[in-house]
Symmetry: C2
Amino acid sequence: MDIAEVAKVSGLPASTLRYYEEKGLIKSYGRNGLRRLFSANVVERLALISLGRNAGFSLEEIYEMFTPDGPVINRELLLAKADELENKIAELTAMRDGLNHAAVCKAPNHFECPKFLRFLRIAGKNKVRQPSKLKKGDL
Amino acid sequence: MDIAEVAKVSGLPASTLRYYEEKGLIKSYGRNGLRRLFSANVVERLALISLGRNAGFSLEEIYEMFTPDGPVINRELLLAKADELENKIAELTAMRDGLNHAAVCKAPNHFECPKFLRFLRIAGKNKVRQPSKLKKGDL
DNA sequence: ATAAAAGTTCAAGTCAACTTGAAGTCAAGC
DNA sequence: GCTTGACTTCAAGTTGACTTGAACTTTTAT
């Protein structure tokens, strides 16, 4: 497939595909003249990347998950990431419940609603790192 | 509370608190000389902001969720956001399962493992917008 | 054979969400 | 009452993830 076709089926702009290739997240198997040639499985790989991005992982983290770390497969890493997701799922669930409640709650201000505060507290129990970077003693 | 105390209990740097105030996400009730004074409830508000950020919402989206939209409370918006979360939860769950499986899978390459591909496909069913912006026909 | 369409590189630009630095102001403890 | 350290503003810098533009090369359709 050429880059335009990959762009079409993946929904990602060609510029993004070049960028991902540069970062080592996908690769082309060769060239037709100057033009990159991609094999079909790149599409699944891209789906996985999008999934990871959507889940809040950085491109670098995703790269690490893809890459066998030395001779051993990165079993530990994958399990750790699965665990991160587990925590995040719990958080999102609490937030979803909080929002659904807030939408119908009669309290003048959600911070005065005990139910709402309870969801907040549940969410707070799973201290998950922030999306981007966080330094020193944050949270 | 002064800014240092809020920083301490929230875990966020003072610079972030000033930034959030500038963006209208939190407010100080007054000043002691130049110094901002915050009431205690700002801490819960910050927890909610962090939760939202962690869930992948932008500061602007979070601001909108906080702000009653005209005379009517933003019921629709909150329910829509809850729904977004619902989709995201499904995606994260599929990804978590995929990772847990990949960690123990014997297949030489996950893209050849039918189980793994199934998780990918499940995740793909819920088309959720990307974390940042996405244009035209993406995904 | 040739011109348009599509691809290429590389440098620079953009955007959100902060952080950092310089220069100044105050309040509190001694 | 004076220093010191915590705070202030404002402008500029940073990072990740891309996007855009200019200048150029091919492929492909006519």
